[in-house]
């Protein structure tokens, strides 16, 4: 026990003496967290639309005024030439093009049906789809209004839909993104700090000095693990406080459950980092290997895009992805107020993960080559 305390004391002295590293691990991530959560929204507003109105009738004007009133669209130049519109698309000056043919109103009154053309830049497929959806709705509404004015509409049967959003009634995407980005930051810092720290000692030779002492392997690994566990939890606390104070992040669930999960999670991640570094010789190797795994872990974890939409194989791969478990758990706890029992399977998985990664790290650490 004394040995462990003295190892911890040594690590903390070293960390707090490193004046360039401190802002990099405490200030920068926090700034990123506060700034970047604003970036991550799929909330489509301001879709740039260009209208080619060859009809110039009251119907077409009604449609345009409805577009202008819509929060989703930003109506740009009005053109009278379809080719020009397509050039706009090519030059990235607009996202979607609405083409209304010359005889639109006349055909509609005469035949009751008319076609307008929508040309979307579909490189961003989901954006194109959403834009198309909004636009069709607006066209329908316009048509209804025209028919109402002409009193052509008799009692229509309809299904009225009413959506309500649980846990986050205002659809505040920051509640969703903030825990996500926070998990990423805490993970990156924990993993890289622990992994680089150990391999750095190998590189500069102090690890050898330790290896020739009677220190036990588990003591050494714990001495490397605990400081970064504490730093990780501290970082998490900072992030949660910032989220609460700046963005009103809800804490619906129990903080005890959250911190218990976070601790086990960090042990799993730090164990992984230490495992990588016991198997590496240089800092460069550690960085490349950790980076490779982290990028995959983060992208698959559902931080930015929902896991449910991923193909079966990717979802299965997530069994090996610690970030996935924590990503789920932190959102469930904070936003949905999930209790321990509802997270039992996550708790089980991450505990197994932690046991395996720390055991492997201890086993693969060689005092004798």
């Amino acid at each position: 026990m004394r040995i462990l305390i003295s190892l911890l004391q040594k690590e903390f002295l070293q960390i707090f003496r490193n004046k360039t590293l401190l802002p990099l691990i405490f200030v920068l991530p926090l700034v990123q967290l506060i700034v970047l959560v604003n970036a991550a929204t799929m909330d489509m507003k301001n879709i740039r639309i260009t209208v080619v109105d060859m009809n110039l009738s009251s119907t077409s004007r009604l449609l345009v005024s409805k577009l202008e009133a819509s929060p989703f669209f930003e109506v740009g130049d009005m053109l009278i030439n379809k080719q020009m519109g397509i050039d706009y698309l090519q030059d990235n000056k607009t996202d979607i093009l609405l083409y209304m043919p010359q005889e639109m109103e006349q055909t509609l009154t005469k035949e009751g049906v008319v076609k307008v053309q929508i040309i979307a830049d579909a490189i961003d497929a989901s954006k194109a789809q959403l834009a198309f959806g909004y636009l069709t709705n607006i066209i329908q509404e316009t048509h209804m209004q025209v028919m109402l004015e002409q009193q052509k509409l008799q009692n229509v049967k309809r299904i009225s839909t009413n959506s309500s959003f649980w846990f986050n009634p205002d659809l505040n995407y920051k509640y969703y993104m903030l825990p996500g980005v926070l998990v990423i930051l805490v993970t990156l810092i924990g993993l890289f700090l622990s992994a680089l720290n150990l391999v750095r000692e190998k590189e500069i030779g102090t690890a050898e000095q330790i290896n020739v002492t009677p220190i036990k392997k588990y003591q050494f690994i714990l001495g490397k693990l605990i400081p970064f566990l504490i730093i990780g939890l501290f970082e998490l606390t900072l992030g949660l406080l910032a989220g609460k104070l700046i963005y009103g992040l809800p804490f619906s669930g129990s903080l005890l459950v959250l911190y218990s999960f976070a601790s086990i999670y960090l042990i799993a991640v730090l164990g992984l980092g230490l495992l990588i570094s016991t198997l590496s010789q240089t800092q460069q190797q550690v960085m490349m290997v950790s980076f490779f795994f982290m990028l995959i872990f983060i992208l698959l974890s559902g931080a930015f895009t929902a896991v449910e939409n991923m193909p079966e194989l990717a979802q299965k791969l997530n069994v090996f992805n610690p970030v996935y478990y924590f990503m789920n758990a932190i959102r469930m706890i904070l936003i949905k107020g999930a209790v321990f029992a509802e997270l039992a399977s996550e708790f089980r998985s991450i505990s197994i993960y932690a046991c395996i990664s720390v055991t492997l790290a201890v086993l693969s650490y060689r005092k004798t080559n």
């Binding site: 004394r2 002295l13 330790i210 020739v212």
Partner: protein
């Protein structure tokens, strides 16, 4: 000199793939001896020393240090030895005192014993007043002397020094050897590798390694007599030829 053998090496072989670093070494070291381990760069000195310290395990052969087999009881051996590596390896971002305190706990010294002995050793080095300085601010010579002090802090029965005087000035080397003598007088066996042949003269006995083998083992005086030369340098040249 007592005849208690604190290091026994029999038929030690170490291979790295096809490369044989140590080809059947045989020697022993007596308690309280200053044992010099000489050889050119790459002759296999460091490899052998790392095996004796339990940092590396032998391919075959028997190695007993401080009464324990290093292959099976490396951790028991480690409790009883001190080690100073070729590359300075104390923590540069800790102070002198923090480094000493850390290693004293690691070797299980109790607090009061450490304070007493630590202060005594540092006073001798005239570093006690500077004990709160970061190690990184010390010059190489001071660093080496400090590393030696840390290596004998816990009063090991054997201390292993791997090229301890590499790159330091002659005066510091001199002081360093005085420290080694003092440690030996206090009953610590000293096992030292070096490629400075003049330093070999300070040892009780020396071995000279060439290409992974021990080519000579005796007191400096007897070796000089055997090869009929005036200095250890010439002994070495005669062997290496």
């Amino acid at each position: 000199m007592e005849n208690e053998q604190v290091i026994i090496v029999r038929d030690l072989v170490k291979k790295f793939g096809d490369f044989t670093a140590n080809a059947g070494l045989n020697f022993h070291v007596d308690k309280g001896e200053i044992f010099g381990f000489l050889g050119a760069n790459g002759a296999g000195k460091t490899t052998a020393m790392r095996i004796l310290c339990g940092l590396s395990s032998p391919t075959s052969g028997l190695v007993e240090v401080a009464g324990y087999n290093v292959k099976t009881h490396a951790e028991e051996v480690k409790k009883r030895i001190g080690y100073m590596s070729q590359k300075f390896s104390l923590f540069e971002d800790l102070t002198i005192w923090e480094n000493m305190r850390f290693f004293s706990t690691v070797y299980g010294m109790n607090k009061t014993a450490f304070k007493e002995r630590g202060e005594m050793l540092l006073r001798k080095l005239e570093l006690f007043e500077k004990r709160n300085r970061l190690v990184s601010t010390l010059s190489l010579g001071w660093k080496q002397k400090l590393a030696f002090t840390v290596a004998i802090l816990h009063e090991p029965s054997i201390v292993f020094l791997d090229e301890p005087t590499g790159g330091v000035d002659p005066i510091t080397r001199r002081q360093f050897w005085e420290m080694i003598y003092e440690a030996a007088d206090n009953g610590i066996t000293v096992f030292v590798t070096t490629h400075y042949m003049d330093e070999a003269e300070y040892c009780n006995r020396v071995t000279i390694m060439v290409d992974g083998r021990i080519d000579a083992l005796d007191t400096p005086a007897k070796l000089k007599e055997k090869y009929q030369v005036n200095s250890m340098n010439d002994v070495f040249l005669a062997l290496a030829r």
